[in-house]
C-alpha cells in the first residue's frame, strides 16, 4: 500500500537526515512517486511526519506490550532479562525507527514535541504499573519504595543498553546485553539481601 510505503520512507529519511533534511522529494523518490502525489495521502509535511511518528510510537508500545505479556513472570530476574532482550530485539530489528526516535528527542520536530512527550509519560506509567504489579505478585513483602528503586535501576541500565544500540554494532550490543543482565541480577540479589528479604 502506497500510504504505508510513504510512512516507511518518511521514517527512514527522518532518522538519517532529521526533519528539515528529510525532504518531500527524497521521500517521494524512495517510494518511486512524484512529490505532488504525496499530497493525495497527506495534507502537509507536518501531517505526514505526525502520522509517521505515531507509527513509531505505536510500534514501540505494541512491541513492548507483546514481550511483556508473552513472558511467564515466574521469576523476576528472568523477567528483566527478557525485557532487556526484547528491548535489544525490538530496537535492532527497527534500528531506523530507533534512530528516528533519537533524532526526535535531540532535535524535536516543531509542533510535534507534545505527542512524543505525552507518549513517553504514558509509556512510563504503563511500564511502572505493570512492573510494579509483577514484582508485587512475586515478592509480596517488598515495600513500594524498594520496588520503585528496582524499576528505576532497571530503567537506568536499560538506558545504557539503549544508547549502546544506537552507537555500537552487533557485537558491542551483545556485550552490553550481557552486562545489563548481570547488572540487574546483582542489583536484585543485593537489594533482596539488604532488605533481609525472604521470598
Amino acid at each position: 500500500m502506497t500510504k504505508n510505503k510513504i510512512i516507511l520512507a518518511t521514517i527512514n529519511n527522518f532518522s538519517t537526515h532529521g526533519y528539515h533534511g528529510a525532504t518531500m522529494s527524497k521521500i517521494a523518490k524512495e517510494v518511486d512517486i512524484k512529490p505532488a502525489s504525496l499530497y493525495y495521502f497527506f495534507e502537509s509535511k507536518e501531517d505526514l511526519f505526525k502520522q509517521a511518528i505515531q507509527v513509531i510510537l505505536d510500534n514501540h508500545f505494541s512491541s513492548m506490550k507483546t514481550s511483556f505479556f508473552n513472558h511467564k513472570k515466574e521469576n523476576i530476574t528472568n523477567l528483566f532479562s527478557e525485557l532487556f532482550r526484547s528491548i535489544v530485539y525490538h530496537h535492532t530489528s527497527n534500528i531506523v525507527e530507533t534512530k528516528a526516535y533519537v533524532t526526535m528527542v535531540s532535535s524535536p520536530i516543531p509542533n510535534i514535541k507534545k505527542e512524543v512527550s505525552e507518549y513517553l509519560v504514558q509509556y512510563n506509567e504503563w511500564l511502572l504499573k505493570n512492573l510494579t504489579g509483577v514484582i508485587k505478585g512475586q515478592y509480596t513483602n517488598l515495600d513500594e519504595h524498594t520496588i520503585r528503586k528496582i524499576i528505576d535501576y532497571f530503567i537506568f541500565i536499560g538506558n545504557g543498553l539503549f544508547w549502546g544500540i544506537v552507537i555500537y554494532d552487533q557485537e558491542g550490543i551483545h556485550k552490553n546485553l550481557t552486562q545489563a543482565i548481570y547488572s540487574m541480577e546483582q542489583y536484585i540479589t543485593e537489594t533482596l539481601r539488604s532488605e533481609n528479604y525472604a521470598k
Copy 2:
C-alpha cells in the same frame, strides 16, 4: 570575538534543529550580524559546522583530560565515581554541546561523519590506555582481560548516565549518578572477590 560567537550560535542551533534546520540566517540573527557576514569567517556552511563540531570535540576531550589528571588516583572506585561526576558535570554544564553531539550521532552531517568517528576512536583509545594504566598501578596482579572488562563495564554504565543526561532533568540525572556510582562499586567489589584478589 565574532568568529567565536558564530561558533557558539552554530552549536546552539545545530543542537536543537539539526544540520538542515540550523540555517545560516538563524545563526546570523543569534550573533546579530547579517548572513552574508558569516562568509567572511567561514568558507561555507559545511566549513562552519566542521569547525563548530571540532570545538565540541576539543572541549569534550580537554574536559575529560582535566578531570582525569586532576584526580589523585589513590583509590580506583573513587576514580570511577569522580569520572562519572565529571561526565555529569561536563555534559550538564554544556548541555547544548551534548545535544549537538547526540544530533551528530543520529543524523550525521554530510561529509563530517569521518571527523566524529575518528575522534571517538581516538578518545576511546586514550580512555582505555589511561584507565588501564591507573588500574594496573593500583592492582598490580590484575590480568589485562579483567581490567578490560572493568573498563568496558564502566563505559556501559557511563552510557546509561549519558543518555539520562540527554533526556532527564536535574533530579533524574542526580539519581542516575548515584546509581552509576553504586553500580561500579558493586562491579569492582564483585570482580576483585571473584578473582580472589588481594591488593
Copy 3:
C-alpha cells in the same frame, strides 16, 4: 513549448551578456516565468547552458549540411560562392546564435569548453571530407595537397566573412560577401593555372 523558449532566451542572453551576465532571472523574465521554474526543466544553470549551446551547434551543423547538399556541385567556384552565401545567410538570420558562438570562443563557459572544441573538430572533419570529395569529383587530376590548399584558403576567406558578420551591418556584410566570392574565384583560377591544369 516552455523548454524551447527557455533555450532561446538563454542563447539570447548569453550572446549579449556572457555566461555570468546571463542570469537565471533575466532568462526567466524573458520567458515570462519565475526563476524557480527553470529548474523544472534544467538541473542547473550549467545544464541549461550546455543544452543551449548544443542547440547552437546542432543548428549550425544542420544549416551547413543543408546548404551543402542542396547545391548541385557542377561547378566548384559556384559551390564556394554558394557556401559563402549560406554562411552569410545562416549567421545573419541567426545573429544571436552567432554572437553567442563568439562569446563562447572568447570567454568559454566553465566545464563546457570540451563540447565546443569537439564540435569544431568534428565540423572541420566533415567539411574537409565533403569538400575534398566534391573537388576530386570535378578535378580528377588535382593532387591531395593542392585540394587541401584550396580548402584552407576557403576557410581563411570564410573567417574574414565570419568576423565581418559579427562587426558590420547589412551593407558591410554584403560588400564582404562580394570580396569573398571574388577572392575565391581568383584563387582557384590561379591555382588551376599554376598547376597547369586542364579539366
Copy 4:
C-alpha cells in the same frame, strides 16, 4: 606599480571570463592584494574597466602607428605585408588583450560601449587617411574609388587574419599570414592590371 598590475589583471580576467565573470576578488587575488584595496586606485568596477579598456585601445593604436610609420613605404604590396605582419605580431604578443577585445565586441560592457565604438571609428578614419595617403603617393593616377576598394579589401583580409589569431595556434596563424599576403598581392596586381595602370 600596483595600479598598473591591477589594470593588467583586469584585462586578463576580462578576456577569459567576461565583464560579469571578472570579479573584483579574482582581480585582487591576481595582484595579491585584498579587494578593498582596489578602491584606493579606482572608484568602482566600472571605472576600473573603463581605464583598462582604454589601455587596450591605446596599446592597439600606438602599436599600429609604430608599425605604420616605421615602414619605408616604397612599395605598396610590401606595406600591406608589413601591416599584416604587424597585426599578427601585435595580437599574438598581446593575445590576452586581443581576446578581451573580442569579448568587448561580443558582450559589451554596460556603459562602456560608446568608448569602444568611438575608438573604432577614429581608428578606421586614421587608417583610411594614412593608407590613402601612401597609396596616392605611389600610384598617383589611381582614383579615389579604386584606392578605397583596395583598402576595403585589405581590411577584409585583415579580418580573416584577426579571427584566425583568436582561434588558431601559432602554426595556423602563420599559414593565414601567408595566405593574407598572397591574397593582397593578387588583389593589387589584378586591380592595377584591370585599371590598365602604369605607375
